[in-house]
């Protein structure tokens, strides 16, 4: 169903996640190619976030496996998977409240250095990291807010920061979980610009609740429902699909 451009960067085979009696993911075969901007849509409870949780190691799948660039990463802990190159944002803003924008991004970049736990140098003086932090801030448009404390940012800016932090680890795959959640119409355009810019740099999978946004941004779309993938294809194919429209009937 999906046409992957280029090599498969991420692939799941028969991924299943059940909690007691509840099956959140049901035999999911998914793949995304390098350079794609893949949108994932589906009604609430369809298993989209659970999918992210399993891929990133937050949950251990009941069955099936996940392959990153051909390597099996199933069952690895979150920090290891992050080190392998998968980075994510969260549906509910998950930033470092009392750290500044700069410090937050600094933390991400630092995690990729050879000795992130170095107790001997002064963090300030690592020029490499501060340069990269500046670059990321410029990319997402937060350069003039670098010294602001995270919790004082507007919600829209916090969502942008969320993405910036995920980017700071130089990932090969970026997972965005409903990035536009709760963002005011004023700030949404800016956020979408950022997502577009970001997706040109990194392979991106984006869960999006708003159909319009998903259709306009993504190159390819995957549709989840009740833990299964029920459709996939180009935005026009999906928006014309009767199956998909049925699922969304009654849902805003």
């Amino acid at each position: 169903m999906e046409k992957g451009r280029g090599m498969k960067l991420l692939e799941t085979v028969g991924l299943t996640m059940s909690f007691g009696g509840l099956v959140a993911l049901d035999d999911v075969d998914f793949s995304v190619g390098k350079g794609e901007l893949r949108g994932i849509i589906g009604p609430n409870g369809a298993g989209k976030t659970t999918f992210f949780n399993v891929i990133t190691g937050y949950l251990k799948p009941t069955k099936g496996k996940t392959l990153l660039d051909g390597e099996d990463i199933s069952g690895l802990p979150p920090h290891t998977i992050s080190q392998r190159g998968i980075s994510r944002t969260f549906q509910i803003t998950n930033i470092f409240p009392e750290m500044t924008v700069y410090e937050s991004i600094w933390a991400g970049i630092n995690s990729r250095t050879k000795q992130p736990w170095n107790p001997f140098v002064r963090a300030d003086t690592i020029g490499d990291i501060s340069r990269k932090a500046g670059e990321i801030c410029e990319l997402v448009g937060l350069s003039d807010k670098m010294n602001l404390v995270s919790e004082n940012l507007s919600h829209g800016d916090q969502r942008v920061l969320e993405i910036a932090i995920a980017l700071s680890t130089d990932p090969i795959l970026l997972l965005l979980d409903e990035p536009t959640q709760g963002v005011s119409p004023k700030e949404i355009d800016n956020l979408l610009e950022v997502i577009e810019k970001v997706s040109q740099v990194t392979t991106t999978i984006m869960i999006e609740h708003d159909m319009n946004i998903a259709l306009s941004l993504s190159g390819t779309i995957t549709v989840f429902n009740e833990g299964r993938i029920i459709a996939g294809g180009s935005p026009s194919e999906i928006s014309e699909s009767e199956e998909v429209q049925e699922i969304y009937l009654g849902i805003g």
Binding site: F96, M99, E103, P119, A123, I126, G134
Partner: protein, 341 residues
């Protein structure tokens, strides 16, 4: 340690980034630290015995407090069991001198090494647990040691403890008797300075930043690729080592060690110090130490129930500024600074 925008080391970026060190106010802290150290160096010879004992106590406990701040203030792990390491440090020195006939430095080294070892072993078990579970398991551990210390009187002397004759401090070129109060004073001062320098450097280093990230949002840090358990364990061991050092110095000062070193009081005190003075600031808990020590020294003379005042003080301080005294000062400063800008 300069402001980015005034010193383009390692590349200039836009309008300048507030250096991390400025953010943690270390310029002011360092200044205060230097002043305090110089004052201490100077007043050593002229302190009357009563005051000297007080200052000595404050210095030794500040070492404990700063180490504990790394745990509570920087990685938000509230251990209710650090009296274990305080006691291990004390008995480490006392027992090495008594049974192994160890010299001063060797005994001290053993005390610190023992603290390190116990912290490593306990940490492997305890650090994995979260919040309240962590608090209780650390309490369980220290309680076991306290009870054992009380009952195994053949080893520990129980409540009465073991008196010991501290060997002289040899510095290669000369030997100094610890019974000379000046020697004791400058020795402790040396360790205090060393502790501050080590911990201040750690806090402003990448390691310190990771600690802070873990405190701010543990999950997020994990998803950034940090093995959070290892870092929390490192903080645990670090804090324990300094607790052990201060326990050893305290035993040296008292010339004995007893089961009380393991008691609940020494587990609760660090928390109270941190709270009064301000967690996550290194010098905050030292201020807590100073306040509590002054209280104990002066107020307890005329009202033995001075702890009531401490209790009230705790509640009042928390109401006014949950970040303790240092937090209060910092926020006043920020207000003033942003008012000008």
């Amino acid at each position: 340690m300069e402001l980015r925008d005034s010193s383009p080391k390692g590349g200039v970026i836009g309008g300048g980034i507030q250096g991390i060190s400025k953010r943690i106010g270390s310029k002011l802290s360092l200044f205060i630290f230097f002043v305090v150290v110089i004052v201490l160096i100077l007043i050593g010879p002229v302190l009357p015995p009563g005051l000297m004992s007080l200052v000595l106590e404050m210095m030794i406990l500040s070492i404990f407090a700063m180490g504990y701040d790394i745990l509570l203030g920087y990685t938000e792990q509230c251990s209710l069991g650090h009296s274990l390491f305080f006691g291990v440090g004390a008995y480490g020195i006392v027992l090495s001198v008594l049974h192994l006939n160890a010299g001063f430095w060797v005994a001290l080294l053993i005390a610190v090494a023992l603290s390190f070892t116990f912290a490593f072993l306990e940490g492997l078990i305890s650090v994995r647990l979260s919040e309240a579970y962590f608090v209780i398991i650390t309490a369980l551990f220290f309680s076991i040691f306290y009870l054992l210390a009380l009952s195994m009187t053949w080893l520990t002397g129980g409540d009465d403890g073991l008196s010991v004759e501290i060997p002289p401090v040899s510095l290669g070129f000369a030997s100094f008797s610890i019974y000379n109060s000046l020697v004791n004073f400058y020795l402790v001062l040396f360790f205090l300075i060393a502790t501050y320098i080590i911990l201040a450097r750690i806090v402003s280093s990448p390691l310190g930043r990771v600690f802070i990230s873990i405190r701010e949002n543990q999950e997020r840090a994990r998803f950034l690729g940090y093995n959070v358990f290892r870092y929390k364990l490192a903080a645990f061991i670090l804090s324990a080592v300094f607790a052990g050092l201060s326990g050893a110095l305290y035993a040296i000062r008292l010339r004995y060690g007893n089961a009380d070193f393991f008691s609940f009081m020494w587990s609760v005190n660090p928390i109270v110090w941190s709270l009064l003075g301000g967690m996550g600031t290194l010098i905050g808990p030292c201020i807590g130490v100073v306040i509590m020590s002054l209280f104990q020294y002066y107020v307890s003379a005329w009202w033995s129930q001075y702890l009531v005042i401490v209790g009230v003080l705790i509640i009042v301080v928390l109401r006014v500024s949950p970040k303790g005294i240092v937090g209060y000062i910092k926020s006043k400063r920020e207000e003033a600074l942003s008012g000008e800008g």
